[in-house]
């Protein structure tokens, strides 16, 4: 039988004494309950911001890009900054759902659903910017490889901007089907619990008639694995291609080969920060502290710390290479970043992205919820300024000093940016109230290995929280001490006797499922060696159960004989 063993040093991923049904109830609760005042307040604010954004977009399209703060020197500013920022945030979702799946990290299961939702919602925001920047968004289909009305002039496949079109649309659509496939069993759970006919109808539609057949689950797991394998290089390619928008140009400060890995690390860095921002709030509001634990937050903080350090290395490498290259334009670009008129943005970027995540070396700070929340926002501010610094400082000092200028955003620039933040939160808040925000089917599959109550039972010899097999046709007799003595001698005669005074006893605790308490019990019976345990068959298991009284069926379930055989041979 499959063993649900997990090393005791691993901390439980599901705290509290949960059963499968408890998980169902906890995940369905935010969907089935009513929204509270706080939700409505935050939703109204987000909606207002979104509407301001819609107004600014309509004004831009109606009047022209001239309403932005762009000028002929700084032709790219907030639009592309926001685009890169939003795409970057999206990366954490795919990293959690795909890369951590390939690495078999179980802690992804509490957070992957919301992280993927965040990916999709933020890539939608990102996609808005290039489309608005086209000025005539009704012609947006011109970027697709279709013949135009005058003959077959095709899109230019040599251009990184067209690679972006392919990368972002593949990324968005693949993330969406990955997310939706994972959602099917959870929608089915909501459908089967729904009481009101309208809800039942909606969730029936969304769940695609998922029934949970063994064959469907087999395919489901294979599809998840292959999608993870495809999404992993995909997520790396997306920000690589985004960085090529800059790296393939010949602008000083952009023309560097370090950009692809540097952008990908930065993307993961900001994305994990955004996941922390969202989930620290969500676990509280939706009562999901049992599934999104301090450990989850701590692990995300560690990822933030590592990727933040990679980003820091990239900043310093860039400075070094600029000096070492001997190219004066390159040298000036970086000198100007640090000491020119945008020194404050550079300082903000350096302190938010390089210095601030280093505090997570302290265990106390990375397990503090309030501190993690504050730092996640600091990181996202820092990452926005990173893109701003890269884009605007490289442009505002042109090759001709007569064109040197500054950039200042108009209320329309600000409106569109704030609008996308509003749009993002509108989508996320709606999601939090209508979707199963935790991949409950997957969480159920790790309950027995990583649930707090199951770990306690295995490691400290508590009661098995799982329902036990009901006993039929068998008379359970009270075991008298006489029976026990007889059973003990029967058991030892088939396993072989052991003299602890002359022979060396094995450490039975090495057998998974045996703790110090159980080892003592076994020793009192007369079992000391792996050799004895390895001889156990069903008959001996039954005898052992009848002698010990407690720990019913554990020896058989964990297959002690096989384990002991392996240990003996080592």
């Amino acid at each position: 039988m499959s063993s649900h063993y997990e090393a005791p040093i691993r901390r439980p991923l599901i705290v509290g004494d949960k059963s499968y049904h408890d998980i169902t109830v906890d995940v369905a609760a935010p969907v089935e309950g009513k929204a509270n005042k706080l939700w409505w307040t935050v939703f109204s604010i987000a909606l207002l911001a979104f509407l301001w954004g819609v107004g600014s977009i309509i004004y831009t399209i109606g009047t022209g890009i001239g309403v932005w703060g762009l000028n002929k020197t700084v032709g790219w500013a907030w639009d592309i900054t926001n685009f890169v920022w939003w795409v970057g945030i999206g990366h954490a979702g795919t990293l959690i759902s795909a890369v951590l799946l390939l690495f078999r990290q179980k802690w992804r299961m509490g957070i992957n659903r919301s992280a993927e939702a965040m990916t999709i919602f933020s890539v939608i925001q990102a996609g808005l910017f290039p489309i608005i920047h086209m000025g005539r968004p009704w012609n947006a289909y011109w970027v697709l490889p279709i013949p135009n009305q005058f003959g077959s002039l095709w899109a230019n496949f040599n251009s990184p901007l067209l690679w972006d079109v392919f990368a972002i649309s593949t990324y968005l659509s693949v993330s969406l089907v990955f997310w939706w496939t994972g959602l099917l069993p959870d929608f089915a759970m909501l459908r089967d619990r729904a009481v009101r006919p309208f809800q039942k109808k909606i969730y029936s539609l969304l769940s695609f008639g998922w029934t949970g057949r063994a064959k469907d689950w087999q395919r489901f797991e294979e599809v998840s694995l292959v999608l993870a394998g495809l999404a992993t290089p995909l997520v790396l390619s997306v920000h690589t291609i985004v960085s090529m928008d800059f790296a393939t140009s010949i602008i000083p400060g952009w023309h560097t080969t370090i950009f692809p890995p540097y952008f990908v690390a930065g993307a993961i860095f900001s994305g994990f920060a955004m996941v922390n921002t969202l989930l620290i709030i969500m676990r509280k509001v939706s009562n999901l502290e049992a599934y999104i634990t301090i450990q989850h937050i701590e692990l995300m903080n560690i990822v933030i710390m590592i990727t933040g350090s990679i980003v820091g290395c990239a900043y310093i490498t860039e400075l070094f290479i600029a000096w070492y290259s001997g190219v004066e334009y390159e040298q000036y670009a970086f000198l100007n970043r640090a000491t020119g008129p945008y020194w404050w943005a550079y300082l903000l970027m350096m302190s938010c992205n390089v210095i601030s995540p280093q505090v997570f070396w302290s265990k106390k700070l990375r397990t503090s919820i309030a501190f993690s929340f504050a730092l996640s926002i600091v990181v996202n501010i820092g990452m926005w300024f990173e893109r701003f610094v890269i884009i605007v400082t490289s442009l505002h000092r042109d090759y001709l000093p007569s064109s040197w200028t500054m950039f200042s955003p108009t209320f329309v620039d600000i409106g569109i940016f704030v609008g996308t933040i509003g749009f993002f939160f509108v989508l996320f808040l709606l999601y939090a109230r209508t979707f199963p925000v935790i991949a409950q089917a997957e969480v159920k599959s790790i309950l027995k290995s990583s649930g707090d109550n199951y770990k306690r039972y295995r490691d400290a010899g508590g009661d098995n929280p799982a329902p036990l097999k009901p006993v039929f046709n068998k008379q359970v007799e009270k075991i008298s001490s006489e029976d026990t003595a007889e059973n003990t001698s029967n058991l030892l005669s088939s396993l072989g006797f052991f003299d602890p005074t002359t022979q060396k006893a094995d450490d039975l605790k090495l057998i998974s499922g045996v703790g110090p308490k159980l080892e003592k019990t076994l020793n009192t019976i007369g079992i000391y060696a792996f050799d004895q345990v390895s001889k156990m068959t069903n008959k001996e298991y039954d005898l052992l159960d009848s002698i010990m009284g407690s720990f019913q069926g554990r020896a058989k379930r964990d297959d002690w004989a096989e384990q002991a055989k392996n240990l003996k041979n080592n």
Binding site: M1, S2, Y20, T24, P145, S152, L153, W154, N156, F157, N158, S159, P160, L162, W163, F166, T170, V174, V177, T181, P185, A188, D192, R193, S204, L205, L206, S207, F208, G209, W210, T211, G212, R213, A214, K215, D216, W217, Q218, R219, F220, E222, V223, L225, V226, L227, L230, S237, A441, E442, K444, S445, K448, P467, L468, K469, P470, F472, N473, R557
Partner: protein, 174 residues
């Protein structure tokens, strides 16, 4: 042969697993098992063939790659070659490095979407499809094993009871 099936309901995945093994050992035919979450090793215990969906994904990926090669060659080299930044446009292979991102994205796009569509079609999942799980609790915390009845119905019922079923229902095959 009767068209009756017995639905035995279990409340734990480990009990279900041993029940599946016992039922197979006793040579009863398991029609279907419904579980609320993936139970690892269940497909092997039931004797299901491994799925070949990963192989289809590989082939879909090759289709995507071929399509991207054809598309870039036709549009950039054959139909309307242009001098773009001096990049060579007279032979596909010389211009190829610029097309690597497109080739990669199309491979992933085709592999991922066509594989998921194949999965939905094979497992009969689509909008407006009616769910066919025998009990709504099978998406919550219950596990149902459907065993077809051939011969003694009573004997099979008591056999399934002994495997640890908490509820047993005899129904006509749907």
């Amino acid at each position: 042969m009767s068209s009756k099936v017995i639905q035995a309901m279990y409340n734990d995945d480990d009990i279900l697993m041993s029940a599946v093994k016992e039922t197979r050992a006793a040579h009863h035919h398991i029609e279907e098992v419904f579980t609320p979450f993936p139970v690892h090793g269940l497909d092997k215990a039931m004797g299901l063939e491994p799925t070949k969906i990963a192989i289809t994904a590989f082939m879909y990926g090759l289709c995507g790659l071929s399509f991207a090669i054809w598309m870039t060659n036709y549009m950039m080299i054959q139909d309307w070659p242009q001098n773009i930044g001096g990049k060579p446009s007279f032979a596909w292979i010389y211009n190829m490095p610029a097309f690597v991102p497109i080739m990669f994205e199309m491979t992933v796009f085709f592999a991922a979407h066509l594989m998921v569509i194949t999965f939905y079609m094979r497992s009969r999942l689509w909008p407006f499809k009616k769910a066919e799980n025998p009990d709504p609790r099978t998406t919550d915390d219950m596990f149902v094993m459907e065993v077809s009845v051939d011969g003694n119905e009573k004997e099979l019922t008591s056999f399934l009871k002994e495997t640890g079923a908490v509820e047993i229902k005899v129904t006509e095959k749907h």
